[in-house]
Each structure stands twice: as structure tokens, then as C-alpha cells.
Amino acid sequence: MNNIALIARRDFASYFNGYAMWIIFAGLLGLEGLFFAVRALGPGAAMYSNEIVAEYFYVCWGHGVAASVLLSMRAIAEERRDGTDVLLTTSTATDGQVVVGKWLAIMGVLTLFTLLSAYLPALVLVHGKVSLAHLAVGYLGVIAAVGATSAIGIFGSSLFRFQLAAGLFTAILVVALVIVWILADITEAPFSEVMAYAAIYNQHYEPFREGRLNISGLVYYASLTSVFLMLAARVLEGRRWD
């Protein structure tokens, strides 16, 4: 457990060593604010307050997933490229601990980013009717979803030496998981049901957006996260023998 905390702390701190991460934060928050202002508060038909909150979580999901792909692509690939992966492979930390530690660091950054945008749905509280539980459930959904996409990103990062290749691989995999529900229309049962269930957004994230906490969504994201972190650890383990 200490090794995991050590790696997580080290990586988390490394994201904030310079101004870069704060500039990225400000830029992404500005972008998120722009999307929110246009989609949820823009000119045209006024929306109900719970619709505005649902729109916010829609925007938040997109930005969170994009940020997770960008952050995770460098997690392991950068270490390999810089040659610092030797330090990790020769340390007392197991491959699983390395992977979990890095994932936790990314999750820390993404959670901070997500919560920094909390002023956006808070604006709705001024004139609208929104429950804090709805906001909490929405954030839980965002964090669960970006947890899964970060895990996919770490797996991608473990496969490649170059960040760009890792990022591209992760992006393709994530996009495939977003649009896989389309395959449900052209395949037959039981594969159609599997495809529909595998989609990372439709069935699993929509309830969180609307303030509904459901167990199957959490289990889906948790299982996806576990499998990809496990696969990443396996890849690192295999590389020890190279």
C-alpha cells in the first residue's frame, strides 16, 4: 500500500511542478464554461433546471474523458521513452502497484479538475431547483467513467513507447466503446445485448446525468477499470523478461 501511495504522490506532484497543468486546467475550464453557456444557458428555449444540470454533466463527461486520454497516454510511455522505467522495474513495487499508483495519480488530477468546475451547476441553484444529491450522483458518474477511460489509457500507455501512439490507441478504443451500441442494431441476440451493454456512455452514464444512482453502472465502470489495469500490469510484467 505504501508503494502505491508513494508512486501516486510522486506522479500527482509531477503534474503540478510547472505552470503547464494550471494553464491546461484554466483552458479546459474556459472551454467547459463556453460549452455550458451555449448548450445549457444559450439563447433559445429556456430549460428546466434539472435539464441544465443534465446538460452540464454531458459536457463534463466529454471533457473528463478527453482529459483522461491526454493525461494517461504519458503515464508509462513517457517513463519508457525517458529511460526512467528502469527505476520502476527495479524497485520493490510490483507491476500492479506501479499501475494502480499511476492510475490513482491521474484520478487525483481528474477529480480535482472535475470538482473545480462545480461552480457551473452551482449557478443553477440561484434560480432553479436542483438537489445536492443529484449533483453528487452526477459527479460519481463522471469519476467512475473517467476512472475507466484512464485505466484504458494506462493500458494503452503500457503497450507503446511513444505517447502519441499510446494516445491514439486509447482514443480509438474509447471511441469504439462509445459507438459500439450501433453494432447492437446489426447483430443478433445475444451479441446485440452484449454490444448494447458494452457501450460506455448510453446505458451506463445517462442515469447518473439524470440523478439516478444505479448499481449496474458502477459495477460496469469498476469492472472495466479493473480489467484494463490488470492488463496493463500483465504487459509490464511481460516486458520484464525483454
Binding site: 486546467f25 464554461g33 451493454y197 444512482l213 459495477v219 480489467v227 523478461w241
Partner: protein
């Protein structure tokens, strides 16, 4: 025909492209195996992919046979190549190929498990329906797991072979196989875990929900009851909806000073009472005053009842009004292009929500009043209020005289005007007010609807007078405003003896845009204008009139979206009806639409896009500098 041909051509083209791609890839991989004695795991994967496409996407027919057949051939070819490579290898590499062969065999076993679920096999076995279902489901669930248990170790072995072309380190092969098996089992575990989570799913709806409290208006009504009322809630013991209702009705009882008696019964256990009140099942709330009964339904299932519980106060108030006040009649003038409940072309002149949402709950019957039923003769005796909603054509002189006589007799008039409609000077002079010509405009205090300068006439205001009909709006003016797309000014005539009170005014720097250019030109003075007034005639039994410079304020679009508009429409009408007790807040927990002015839009835009991001950036810069200094 053209579509069918096009679709077939498309499929053919796609099939050819995919086929060509497959062939080229195969060629490259086979060459690699033959030259370097590497593993054939990727060829195995290609074979599986072709088989999957054939079995799951190609339906029945030649295409399916082609793809599936190709898949099987490629699969068997990969095993053949593995055997060939094994024969040509030595030592650890030979062992690696042996392992690869074993696990490739496992893939074939997995496919065989799938094969025994095909119709051609199950048909020969002669199963009954239930047995067939169990047979098919069991093997079709196991098949992909067994295939995965074969594929991943094969890929692991091939990776070791590729990474170590000469000598394989001790333990690397065993580790690769273990990793492959472990990964396959972990991925396989995904399916039953998610299946169980899906079939035993639990959901908690935590979106905003609250049962309303008793509103001021309802409290006023029950507080002024002349005769006692009994409220009977028909719900079974322990019911969730009942638990939500009881606190509300307890508060209602307390507010009534003993005039309301509340009882909660199960309809099944009180059949005689239920019959007396005309109640057939639970989920009904009945109100009784003397011999008069009114009731409404509210579901016993809490999930279905949630929507109605949010507007419970409104429903209770409406029922109490029906029970205690009796029906009153509103006469709505027609025949001169008035805005109406039946308007089809101009949505801003459609007032059906005014009828449905304001008149009906107050137990007010609407009757059209035109030439055919006496508008040039006399206002009927049963009229409580006459409504004149921005007529586009002039009224007949006789009709004007009828309305004047109505007012002189202490009648009540709701006069709505609008730029473009007849100014009704003869009538407004009699009332003691004047109305303007063009629409009022403002540079900032408007609601953006169409975009551009034209929006400057869509005024919003939260500047209310001290008249009793707008006291609730006045008290909540910081949260509620009224939207008025195109509004005329209204003001007291200098020589009138009638009492004219301001209901609502515009913001300062408003101008009357008489030339219609949306700019404050010469002669268009900027100042505060009155836009709605209440007029009381001389003496105790003098007439009452509400004159509003904008009929659009009452339109469906705005009554539904703006709480301020709805409250203004309701409370001014109640004042006309001499029913101010019924005015006041109606509690509702229904979600509200967020309406915002252009000023607010700019403020929110600036904050969300610039303000907060810059604040966070500034914080980050300071933090980095402080940390840098501390090092």
C-alpha cells in the same frame, strides 16, 4: 429497385475490399512465419475474425458460407503453420511452439462448443424446447471463454518468440502462458459479474423531489372558511404516498383554525364512507363541505405520485376554491381580432394557458362575448369580469357604450393593450388612463428571443408598485420579474377623479420606440414608464379595472416559462374579483425553467468562460511561485 441494386453493390464492394485486405495481411503474416519460424497467433486471430463476421453479420446465404468457410480455413492454416514451425525449431523455441499448438487446439475446442449449438446439430439431436434452450445457452456461454483461454496464451507465447529470436530466458515462457490464462479468466469474469449486476440492479432516484408545503394562498383560503371542511385521504396503512401527504394536511389543518378536519382511511376498510363520497379505490383525496364533495386522485405508488406531490398545494387550493366559492363567469369579448384561447397563428396572442392555468383553477367559466350574445346590448348579469384582449379592429360605438355602462354600474374590466391594436381611446378616457403608441424599448433590460436589435422591445421588469394586487411580486422582486414582448406605456389621465395605482413600471432609460428603429432617436425621451395600472372608480361600489400595455404578457409561452408573468396574471385578476385572500404564494416544488435577461446572459458568460478560469490560473501561478521559493 435502384436502392436494392445500390445496396447489393455496396455490400459487394465492401466484401471485396475486406477480402483483399485479408489476403494481403495473410500473405505478409504467413511469409513472416515461414521465414523466421515465428508464431501464427495473428493468423489465428484473423481466422477467428472472419468466422465471427460470417456467423454474426452475414445472416444466411452465400456470404455467410464464404466468410465462415474462409475463417475455418485460415484457422486450420494457422495450426498447420504452427506445426511446421515447431518441426523446424529446437530447444525452448520448439517447446514454445508446442505450447502454442496446445492452446490453438483449445481455440478449436471452443469453436467446436459453438458448433454443437448450430441448428444442423441440435436438429439432429432432437431436443425439446426447454432442453434446446439450456443446451444452446450453456455451450454458447462457455464457447467464448474457452476460445479466450486459448487465444491469449497463444498471443503471449508469440510475443516471447518475437522478443527472443535466439534463446528464450528461463521462466519467460511459463510466465507468458500464466499471464495469458490469468488475463483470459479476468476478462471472462467481466461477463457473469455484469450479468448479475444487471439482473439484480437497484436504482435510487436522487433528482430533486419534495412534497410542497402549504402555500400562503391556501392558508388564506382555509383561514377564511365560513363553514367547516372535512378532508378524507384514502390510503392504506404504511403507504409511502400517505407518509408524504400527512405532514401537508396536518399543516393545513393547523392553518385553518379548526375549520378543516383531516382523516386518513383505507378505502377497503371503510366501504360505506367510500361509497358516500363516490370513491372507488385508494389514492383519492376527498373534500366535503356540507353536501358538496370534490375530490382528486394522487397515486398510491410513490414513484408515480412524485410528480403530483410537487404540485399538491396547487391542486388542494384549486379544489378548495371549487368547493367554497362556486362558479363565476368571465365574459371574453370577441369579434374584433382579440387575442384569445383559440389563436392559431400568433403564439404570443394565444392565451389558452391563461384559461387552463389561471381561470379554471379559480373556478371561472369563460364565455365568449360578441355581437351574437349581446355585446352591443348589455353585459349579462352573471358576469364577474369582462376581458378585452387587445382588439385589432375598432369596437362598435354601441359596444363601447355597453362597457361604459358596465363600469358605471360597478363592473370589473381587464383591459389588455398592445402596440398595433386599437387604442380604445373612448374607453380608456372613461376609465381615466391613456396608452402610448409604439413599443417601449431598452438597451439592456430585455430578454433575447430573436437575436439582434429587435430584442430591445422584449422588455423585462421587476419594478412593481405598492398596490395590494402586486404585493407578492413586490416582495419577491429580486427573484421574480415579468417579461413583456412589445409593451405600450399606460398612465393616469391628468383630469381623472378615479384612483389610478401603478402596478408595474419599466426600468429607467426606457424609451417609446415610436419610429420602430429600435434606437432612441430624437424626440424619444428616455425615462421610467408605467406599463400596467389598477383603476378604482369613485365610491365604495365603484368599478375596478386593470389596464396592461401588453397582451403578450398573458401568452401561453410566457405564462409557462415565467413565474412572474403567471403570478401577475393571477393576482391582478383576483383583485378584480374581490378575492385578495386567494392571492399569495402557491407552493410548488415543480422544476422551473431558468429564464434570464441578456444582461444576465453576459454576466454568466463572462464568469463561466473568463472569470473562474482566470481565477484558477492565478491561484495556480501563485502556488507554483510560492513552492518554488520555498525550495
Amino acid at each position: 429497385m435502384f436502392e436494392i441494386v445500390t445496396n447489393s453493390l455496396l455490400y459487394l464492394t465492401l466484401s471485396v475490399i475486406i477480402g483483399l485486405g485479408l489476403v494481403v495481411t495473410l500473405f505478409v503474416l504467413v511469409r513472416d512465419v515461414l521465414l523466421r519460424m515465428s508464431g501464427s497467433g495473428l493468423i489465428l486471430l484473423l481466422g477467428l475474425a472472419a468466422l465471427f463476421v460470417g456467423e454474426r453479420w452475414m445472416g444466411e446465404g452465400t456470404a455467410r458460407m464464404a466468410f465462415s468457410g474462409l475463417g475455418v480455413l485460415v484457422l486450420l492454416g494457422s495450426i498447420g503453420l504452427r506445426g511446421f514451425a515447431m518441426g523446424r525449431s529446437e530447444g525452448e523455441r520448439r517447446t514454445a511452439h508446442q505450447r502454442g499448438l496446445v492452446f490453438s487446439g483449445l481455440v478449436v475446442v471452443g469453436l467446436a462448443l459453438y458448433g454443437i449449438t448450430l441448428e444442423s446439430v441440435t436438429g439432429a439431436l432432437g431436443f425439446g424446447e426447454e432442453a434446446l434452450s439450456r443446451w444452446t445457452v450453456t455451450w454458447q456461454c462457455l464457447s467464448p471463454i474457452v476460445v479466450l483461454l486459448g487465444v491469449l496464451p497463444v498471443l503471449g507465447v508469440d510475443r516471447v518468440l518475437a522478443a527472443h529470436p535466439r534463446a528464450i530466458p528461463r521462466g519467460a515462457l511459463r510466465r507468458a502462458v500464466e499471464n495469458g490464462l490469468g488475463s483470459a479468466l479476468a476478462i471472462s469474469l467481466l461477463f457473469p459479474v455484469n450479468y448479475l449486476a444487471n439482473t439484480h440492479d437497484k436504482t435510487w432516484d436522487l433528482a430533486y423531489f419534495r412534497t410542497t408545503a402549504v402555500g400562503e394562498s391556501t392558508k388564506s383560503i382555509v383561514g377564511s372558511l365560513a363553514e367547516p371542511v372535512t378532508v378524507t385521504l384514502f390510503y392504506p396503512a404504511g403507504n409511502d404516498t400517505r407518509k408524504e401527504l400527512e405532514p401537508y394536511f396536518t399543516d393545513l389543518q393547523n392553518a385553518s383554525g379548526g375549520q378543516i378536519d383531516v382523516r386518513v382511511v383505507d378505502q377497503a376498510l371503510e366501504p360505506a364512507l367510500a361509497e358516500e363520497l363516490g370513491v372507488r379505490d385508494n389514492g383519492t383525496i376527498a373534500f366535503t363541505q356540507g353536501e358538496i364533495h370534490e375530490k382528486f386522485k394522487l397515486d398510491t405508488d410513490i414513484e408515480r405520485a412524485k410528480r403530483d406531490l410537487k404540485t399538491l398545494d396547487e391542486e388542494v387550493r384549486k379544489t378548495l376554491i371549487k368547493l367554497t366559492r362556486g362558479q363565476r363567469t368571465i365574459y371574453w369579448m370577441v369579434g374584433h381580432g382579440e387575442a384569445s384561447t383559440k389563436e392559431k397563428e400568433d403564439q404570443l396572442r394565444k392565451l389558452s394557458v391563461f384559461k387552463r392555468g389561471i381561470l379554471d383553477p379559480e373556478n371561472l367559466k369563460l364565455v365568449e362575448f360578441g355581437i351574437t350574445n349581446g355585446s352591443a346590448d348589455k353585459v349579462p348579469d352573471d358576469a364577474s369580469v369582462v376581458v378585452l384582449a387587445a382588439p385589432e379592429k375598432e369596437l362598435l360605438p354601441e359596444e363601447i357604450d355597453v362597457l361604459k355602462a358596465w363600469l358605471d354600474g360597478g363592473g370589473k374590466l381587464l383591459l389588455l393593450s398592445d402596440p398595433g391594436s386599437d387604442k380604445l381611446t373612448a374607453l380608456t378616457d372613461h376609465i381615466g388612463v391613456e396608452v402610448g403608441d409604439g413599443p417601449l424599448a431598452h438597451m439592456q433590460a430585455f430578454v433575447p428571443i430573436v437575436g439582434g436589435k429587435a430584442d430591445r422591445v422584449n422588455l423585462a421588469s421587476n419594478k412593481f408598485g405598492s398596490h395590494e394586487s402586486v404585493k407578492l411580486l413586490s416582495r419577491n422582486s429580486s427573484q421574480m420579474g415579468v417579461v413583456m414582448p412589445t409593451v405600450r406605456w399606460v398612465r393616469k389621465k391628468a383630469d381623472t377623479k378615479n384612483r389610478v395605482s401603478t402596478l408595474m413600471r419599466s426600468f429607467p432609460d426606457t424609451w417609446s420606440d415610436d419610429d420602430g428603429d429600435f434606437e432612441a432617436g430624437e424626440g424619444e425621451e428616455k425615462k421610467v414608464f408605467e406599463v400596467a395600472v389598477a383603476v378604482s372608480g369613485e365610491g365604495e361600489d365603484g368599478f375596478k379595472a386593470i389596464v396592461v400595455g401588453d397582451v403578450n404578457l398573458y401568452s401561453d409561452v410566457l405564462l409557462q416559462r415565467s413565474q412572474g408573468n403567471a403570478l401577475f396574471a393571477r393576482d391582478t385578476l383576483l383583485w378584480l374579483l374581490d378575492d385578495p385572500d386567494a392571492a399569495g404564494d402557491i407552493e410548488s416544488e415543480e422544476d422551473v425553467k431558468v429564464v434570464h435577461t441578456r444582461e444576465e446572459d453576459l454576466a454568466w458568460f463572462a464568469m463561466t468562460v473568463l472569470g473562474m478560469p482566470l481565477l484558477i490560473l492565478g491561484f495556480g501561478i501563485i502556488l507554483v511561485r510560492v513552492r518554488g521559493r520555498n525550495r
